[in-house]
Symmetry: C2
Subunit: 629 residues, 2 copies
């Protein structure tokens, strides 16, 4: 879980004047030949990033809503926001009365296309910035609008930027090189593996647009987007050519120059040609101008419409997941080892936090914000800490029920002995990325709170302990996380898990555990995902239990058709509060799982706490990992 | 489960000469302007029926493979068959060496498109009969071929028919009318409801092509396709017009005439205009010629390419499921009552069968075929019996592992005390359709057989007893059926359940329980599906436990967001053999489920056995429904 940072609070942004200006621009022929009747503002940037730099927060700027997912559409009469169940409450609080919220996932909620068709006058023109709409979304939207007599129009000028007078600059922070001790594979070998896949599928060029894929490919990290160690770049790779598009001044640093062998490539085909970030469009045009009819260019179908359409349709080979995305998802031994180390350090920080909380809460001095800050402080004491991997979700009582809540001064509650506390947090270390949620009570939880917690725990265990055949897609495991809640008539309106990068984005494809996706790639050993069922009682409390887990081979009794089996190994090693459990609702196998997990927490994290001389946290760990009976 | 009947045995069909003739036709310019390099032979008929009349069994004719699903592609060099896991064994046994089997669902198996592209010479023409390829399949195939420089070509002459000299005639059996006591709703009301949906979505015409939808709409049944009480027909419905395309001599029967009010329609808009079956193409052309640009025509995206393409693209509104398909799936009170009665009669027949088997098996006189015949005999003694709903799968020992096995003289095994016996059978009664699988041992099963049976039972119970929110799609329940098998490294390569018609097709959409589909419609109260996990030990034994279950409202403790919950109520009431269970592997809740289920079997079916004076079967039932402890 994670939500994007912003300065916008929970009181709604006043948008009347902004919308007036935007509508003026929609009618204003300075920007295009004819007026447009609707303007679509997607969430993303030109790389379809989930987390975006401040200069790209256009949907937030126009609406006030700063959740990580949402699409705004503005017409002459309406301003409408689509978002999913994680954000219903937050969006309704952050947007003023000019806005209508469309709750995605509810049966009665129209799709954006259906809604547009229902409100637009005949032969309408709907505008969008082709750099920030993905090619597949463009296609769906364009088709639906065309069939109803309207048209989707690519506007070269972004209309939000037209009305956004103090828009920040695009960041260009220093690059960090990663050696083999962190990556396990050199960028040369990654390029060679990519080219082998291209040869296998008869592909002549590959266009990389996703920032985490480019960072992974070149074993570089950046800091352009908060929480995500990526940098703004594109890359175009051919069989004898590697082109990297990036703010060139960043490559002047000797370490980066040497890492990329810019002055002395080891082999001609590993020579990286560098270009300014902005020139990707014209360079891709040049590459495409030289294509023969049989040449094929790989580009992700989620890449920007602008860049996708540069490639002639007959040469274009759109793919749902790029070979980099697939290769990156399966962590190698070095990366797995790094992730394990990172999770032990992270657990040390959280043990410190919880031990500290137990002492401090009775004094009524700890708030959601100060607790999140304390968690960051403890993490920052750990080796190779870089920063957080997403803004900490720190919610007391009713705030815990806001799935992607982020405490703000005006919503900030004090941690007490009387309310449930949910903290979902994670960090970037040079050796790995963490993401963990724990739900605690520092007094006496109610029977209902314990009951719900226990159902969520049962769901967490059902996924974590599941054994399933090689080749199984993660979405097939989603219902395991819900069965116990469903049986009591409860549920949660978000997926159960997402892929986690290794010192990269805390959310990554192509695998996950969610009923919403069908096109996820099969799970395989080495993949890393989160397991995070929850339950949210609106206005009262929120529960979520999240571990990051590694897909590993399982060895059950039989081996049907020699397919092999998989299961999960928790990388997160932070005790789950026994006080919140109604252990009578657990089966013996579930109790055994809890005890085994706690034994491992105690052994592995205990040793590290001992080594770091953190006595108070060690005592807390030992107490919290007593076996249940 | 069900497989299509055929006279082809398990020894392969000799196809060398047929393929030579077909390849001659592929090169022969009598049938088209230029030769074709590949010819696709799908399974279906012009209605995309799963079960087809003998005249439509073209894929079987050319290959010998008679499973219910498969696509053949013939090129100059290759003859290749794609089919799924249910049929790997059967297809490999029924096809000779001219054929290559493509095992769908395995990672290494190419799609038809990819395979064609890999083998075809440049600029190839791939032929197909546009009447027997669905519009959505045409689209996918055509797009893939075009992008590789080939073309998909609609051939008016079916090339299989060219080489099939003794092809049977299209059947035209007598129609049966169904009154309100069976249907619960008159065809007038069904037409009115359809038109209301059309109005709601601004649709002017609806083209019905699926045979079961047409039978359901008009409350008529036929017998043109074995096991399926349907008749060859099309219908085109407008706001003031109902056109029915059917062999006209079938409408001469007074009861049918009166039922359809052909001579005296109650209202002008309920006047049915009748046309010969073959004239649907020209009539649809006439309808489309009169369309205004704003008119929209609904047609299922799985309807034939030929008929779909008659509708101008701008007027065409393809839908994955028609409103008839959706309405038909939710059974009304009358239909549910009929289904319950049908299942009680069916259970009486099976209790008789199993009681008889126990006496006869020791004599070694019962074979797979004679047992299937005996089952049919017992069923035929029940009121309103029409026929079987699919060919009985009756498999002893290794034959039970062939998922869609059908016993033939050359494969026929004798039932003994030493092998597992699997029988999957069902019937059509005027009040309902049944489909039930039981797996039995009449001696002492091995520990492994019991273990596997118990895992399958656990999966069956996990689905049957599942409670889940309203709006849940059936595919989300599929993994529940597999969890116990997966945990021991086992699995089965078919879906867990399919929709079941009411005195209609034993397989129907739009709901089911399968990991293979994502686009199924959410389950709702009144839908009826099968629950049939299995396990198949190749060369040794097969296990499947199948009940038909009704979706009903559940009342768990809580009601999150007032969504309501659903669960299943078994309609099938036939004991599950306790001797095959390793009861130690069952949880207390699973044991309770078995005991509750058996108590209901005893009460409901016992009363009917008593009423019918079937003493021996009653004794068997009472013994087989003793509670387990």
């Amino acid at each position: 879980m994670a939500s994007k940072e912003s300065d916008t609070g929970m009181s709604p942004k006043i948008t009347g004047e902004l919308l007036r200006q935007l509508r003026h621009a929609m009618r204003n022929c300075k920007y295009f030949s004819e007026p447009i009747q609707a303007y679509i503002v997607p969430s993303g940037d030109a790389h379809q990033s989930e987390y975006i730099a401040p200069c790209d927060c256009r949907r937030e700027f126009i609406s006030g809503f700063n959740g990580s997912a949402g699409t705004a559409i503005i017409t002459e009469q309406h301003a409408v926001m689509w978002t999913d169940g994680r954000y219903f409450l937050q969006a309704s609080q952050q947007m003023d009365n000019n806005w209508t919220l469309m709750k995605m996932g509810l049966k009665e909620t129209p799709s954006q296309e259906d809604w547009l068709i229902s409100v637009l006058p005949e032969n309408s023109r709907v505008g969008v910035d082709p750099w920030i709409i993905a090619a597949d979304q463009w296609k769906t939207m364009s088709k639906a609008l065309s069939s109803a007599g309207h048209s989707l129009v690519a506007l070269q000028d972004n209309l939000i930027d037209v009305v956004w007078i103090d828009r920040p600059e695009r960041p260009s922070k220093q690059l960090r090189t990663l050696g083999l001790e962190y990556t396990g594979i050199s960028w040369h070998d990654k390029i060679t593996a990519l080219r082998a896949k291209m040869t296998e599928r008869k592909i002549t060029w590959f266009v990389a647009t996703a920032l985490d894929e480019i960072a992974w490919l070149f074993n570089l990290r950046g800091a352009d987007i908060e929480y995500n160690p990526v940098f703004f770049a594109y890359s175009i790779v051919g069989m004898n050519s590697i082109r990297l598009f990036v703010d060139l001044k960043r490559l002047q640093i000797p370490a980066v120059k040497e890492h990329l062998q810019l002055d002395s490539p080891s082999k001609p085909e590993l020579n990286i040609q560098t270009f300014p970030y902005e020139s990707v469009y014209t360079e891709l045009q040049a590459v495409c101008a030289a294509l023969s009819p049989k040449d094929k260019v790989w580009i992700c179908d989620k890449a920007s419409c602008a860049l996708t359409q540069v490639i002639p349709k007959s040469n274009r080979s759109p793919i749902p997941y790029t070979p980099l995305c697939l290769a990156k998802a399966v962590k190698n031994e070095t990366e797995i080892q790094g992730m394990k180390v990172a999770h032990i350090k992270d657990a040390v920080a959280l043990c410190e936090l919880f031990a500290w909380l137990e002492k401090e809460i009775p004094k009524s001095t700890v708030t959601e914000i100060s607790c999140a800050e304390k968690a960051e402080e403890f993490r920052s004491q750990q080796k190779d800490f870089i920063g957080l991997s997403f803004p900490t979700i720190s919610g007391v009582g009713p705030n815990g029920a806001i799935i992607h809540y982020r405490p703000l001064p005006e919503t900030n509650r004090t941690l007490t002995m009387n309310e449930v506390y949910l903290i979902d947090s994670g960090a970037q270390y040079i050796d790995g990325t963490t993401d963990v949620t724990r739900t605690m009570h520092f007094g006496t939880p109610s029977a209902f709170e314990k009951e719900c917690f226990t159902y969520v725990l049962k769901g967490h265990i059902a996924v974590s302990a599941a054994i399933f055949p090689n080749g199984t897609k993660g979405h097939l495991l989603d219902s395991f996380a819900r069965a116990a809640l469903w049986e009591s008539g409860l549920d949660y309106l978000h997926g159960t898990g997402h892929g986690v990068g290794c010192f990269l984005n805390v959310h990554e494809g192509p695998c996950g555990i969610s009923y919403k996706t069908f096109a996820d790639e099969p799970l395989e050993a080495g993949m890393i995902v989160s397991d995070e069922p929850g339950y949210y009682q609106e206005g009262s409390f929120g529960i979520r239990l999240e571990n990051v887990v590694l897909v590993v081979a399982a060895k059950p009794k039989y081996n049907y058709r020699n397919r092999g089996s998989l299961t999960f190994e928790p990388l997160t090693l932070v005790p789950i509060q026994v006080k919140m459990m109604n252990t009578e609702l657990l089966t013996q196998r579930e109790r055994d799982w809890v005890n085994d997990y706690h034994r491992k927490c105690r052994e592995v994290v205990g040793a590290e706490l001992e080594r770091q001389g953190r006595k108070q946290a060690l005592d807390w760990l030992i107490r919290e990992t007593q076996p249940i009976v």
